[in-house]
Amino acid sequence: MKPLLRLVDKFKPHFAKGAKYGKFHPAFEALETFLFTPGDTTANGVHVRDAMDLKRTMMTVIIAILPTLFFGIWNVGYQHYLAYSMEMSHMDYILFGLQKVLPIVIVSYAVGLGVEFVFAVAKGHSISEGYLVTGLLIPLILPVTIPLWMVAISAIFCTLLGKEIFGGTGMNFMNPALLARVFLFFAFPAFMSGDIWTDLSPEVGHAIVDAYSGATNLVTFDTDYTQLQTAADMFWGFEQGSIGETSVFACLIGALILIVSGVGSWQIILSVFIGAGLTGLFFNSVAPADIPTHAMHTPFYFHWLMGGFAFGAVYMATDPVSAAHTESGKWIYGLLIGALIVVLRIFNPAYPEAVMLIILLLNVFAPLIDHMVVQRHIQKRLRRAQQ
């Protein structure tokens, strides 16, 4: 890789601070460090450093997200041909899915990274790697039918108002990807609910089957939970929904990668599942016996399988910046997310998007949770001092 390094070194002086293109130093630096981990050495303090950096961290998260992306691409094709009742091969599903999903991913990355570049150049700070993950998460939590220009403005919204105005990656207090979604959800409700979950582009010579219903399981659940798809379908992800959220199985593979690599917090993932499970059980015990189809009767594990629960627990709640930072805080944060998702799902049918809203709500509360944990810690220390 010497020739490449020489090439980079050749251009470097032009982008040095104060040089002709000095303004674009952050952009050049982002590109350079993308190719080569810099040869900077430790200066103060420790002389050796752990090989882990933020780029590697984000890369690991992206690898963990990939299973859901791959399944999502397949499922977009599968749902499409299912609506037309056409027998196609897996390859056709994937090709159709790629054709629909890739543009969304590309727009999300191009626009979001563009905003980051502009900000970095204007403010003169280096470009952080946070958006590499956000840019992939946004497409996965949108319906496949979303117009591309909406993807673009949601990406701008979340980067600008969700992150950069607070100082960039590490300074935001809400999950940027979820902010993008919640923005679209309230700004363009017609494109975010209703019969939008399956791409129904016309197929010559085929008509949509009569049995087709655009409703996701979350809608069914509120009217009559017994009409839900089977647990197996929901686990593997053969259902309608946002592009990447349907397969609990794919999310669990991602969870495994995050937990084994130590990048994601297992405490949060586990506590979200426990919180939802316990609350589900509680509602089972108090469910009205005279209405057998009431949502409160839903078996607790259905909450784990429905909608974006697993996706939210694994990829959204675990965002280290917007989650609670203390160990016990993480448990409280996770349990509350799980519990409140189930409460909102059951008691507020108007908002099937419980996962998104509750995670954002708890993002806002996370600093408060941490504050209480730290106060308790301080009190304990004081008590020890008085002994």
Partner: protein, 453 residues
């Protein structure tokens, strides 16, 4: 047998270049230097001038703020030069050393049992041995007037490539015992020993007749289990306005020599370690000896970093520098100035990381040759829970750091700033994904507290 304290949070960085258990003897050098910067917060006031002849143990300078502190010559000879740095700060006092026959200032010997505590303090101050006794918080030279809660000696070093202190102590058991006696007298019996838990009872060097059983503590677990700060935290945590003293075992030996031989004899055994040395081993040298002289032809080819101390907390040093007053350990590792192509993407079998995102985690027993590369750029704080895994203290590291950055004195106090020193946070800095300079922040925090006093 005393109590056992198990340390769970921490990490042992396994490096290549462990020292062989041989002690090489080195001839006395031509030049020995005394460097005032070795001592924190000391403003030197010279007591000699160039051309004077001095004896080993004779005062070279005192401290302007604390005139009772005396800094004495480790060797006899002629003052060759006083090297000044910017603003006429004294950088080093170079002494043309007597090569064969060192003349010592003679102090009374073998009279320890008859000395009162005041006499003892006076003797230590006069000989310069007092400077080996330091205090927490702030890691300063102890204040002779203060009443410390206790005195701590950590008899093992758990840091990467650490010297085997048992091996070093066993070279001069009697002097260690004498030194310990003096310290027990000094601390009114309240001396705590931290020993490594090896499962075979009390190590041979431990004079258990001097220290009551309840003051002997065994520590088990990974680094920083040998840090004296960790010992203090688990045995007698520091509160506001409390002080503890601590002494390194090798300095206990030097204090012992003062009382058994009546001389300030400042030679010590230093471990030469690290992957850039051709022959990692122990060596007997004099405080203030030139590093060049110590490493001589032991260095391998290439660009290296010489560190006085370990790779986590030691100070970067040059061949032209001198062995500092508190150094027991020299590490030499390669510099890492080479950019790594797609470093964030490759599997990384030879890269060490506590996270398991590099495949090297599958080989837990592997020993590494680590260089000084930072492996990434500094970023805002993103990952959580990393520091907690390597800090075996009841402290919330990130919140303490944030309080320091916000200069919130009350919060710092509440979160336990008095209990920490930079070295205790060294592993936090090592693991930090965002490459934040944790030790520097802690240092700033301590300075801030100090200024408030």
């Amino acid at each position: 047998m005393g109590s056992t304290i198990t340390i769970r949070r921490g990490y042992d960085i396994k490096l290549k270049g462990e020292p062989e258990k041989v002690i090489a003897e080195l001839n006395y050098p031509d030049i020995v230097a005394c460097v005032p910067a070795d001592y924190r917060e000391v403003k030197p006031k010279l007591k000699i001038s160039p051309g004077d002849t001095v004896q080993a143990g004779q005062c070279l300078f005192t401290d302007k703020l604390r005139p009772e502190l005396r800094f004495t010559s480790p060797v006899s000879g002629e003052i060759a030069e006083i090297v000044l740095a910017e603003k006429r700060r004294i950088r080093e006092i170079r002494i043309l050393a007597d090569k064969n026959n060192i003349h010592y200032v003679e102090f009374p010997k073998n009279d320890l049992a008859t000395l009162s505590r005041q006499d003892l303090i006076h003797r230590l101050l006069e000989s310069g041995c007092w400077n080996y006794i330091r205090q927490r918080p702030y890691s300063l030279i102890a204040n002779p007037e203060a009443a410390p809660k206790a005195l701590f000696i950590s008899c093992f070093d758990s840091s990467p490539l650490s010297p085997d202190l048992e091996f070093i102590i066993s070279q001069e058991k009697e002097n260690f015992e004498t030194g310990l006696k003096a310290l027990v007298q000094l601390a009114n019996g309240n001396v705590h020993l931290g020993l490594p838990q090896k499962g075979n009872g009390i190590p041979s060097y431990c004079p258990d007749h001097l220290i009551p059983e309840k003051n002997i503590h065994y520590f088990k677990g990974p680094h920083p289990s040998g840090n004296v700060g960790v010992h203090i935290h688990h045995i007698a945590p520091l509160q506001k306005d409390e002080i503890v003293w601590y002494v390194h075992p090798q300095d206990v030996i030097i204090i012992g020599r003062l009382f058994s031989e009546g001389r300030y004899r400042a030679d010590r055994v230093v471990a030469l370690t690290g992957s850039s040395l051709t022959k990692p081993q122990y060596i007997r040298v004099l405080t203030g000896q030139p590093i060049m002289n110590i490493l001589a032809d032991n260095l391998a080819e290439g660009d290296h970093r010489i560190i006085q101390g370990n790779v986590l907390h030691g100070a970067q040093t040059l061949q032209e520098d001198y062995l500092s007053f508190y150094t027991n350990h020299i590490t030499v590792i390669p510099e890492g100035k080479e950019p790594a192509f797609l470093g964030w993407l490759l599997p990384g079998l030879k890269k060490l990381s506590l996270s398991r995102s590099y495949l090297s985690w599958l080989m837990p027993k592997r020993k590494y040759t680590l260089d000084t590369n930072k492996h990434g750029e500094e970023r805002a704080f993103v990952m959580t829970g990393q520091y907690d895994k390597v800090l075996p203290m009841n402290i919330y590291p990130v919140f303490l750091l944030k309080a320091i950055l916000a200069k919130d004195i009350e919060k710092m106090e509440a979160l336990g700033i008095y209990e920490v020193a930079e070295e205790d946070f060294a592993l936090c800095e090592f693991v930090c994904t965002s490459k934040i300079e944790v030790q520097k922040i802690i240092g700033e925090g301590l300075e801030l507290m100090r200024a408030e006093e």
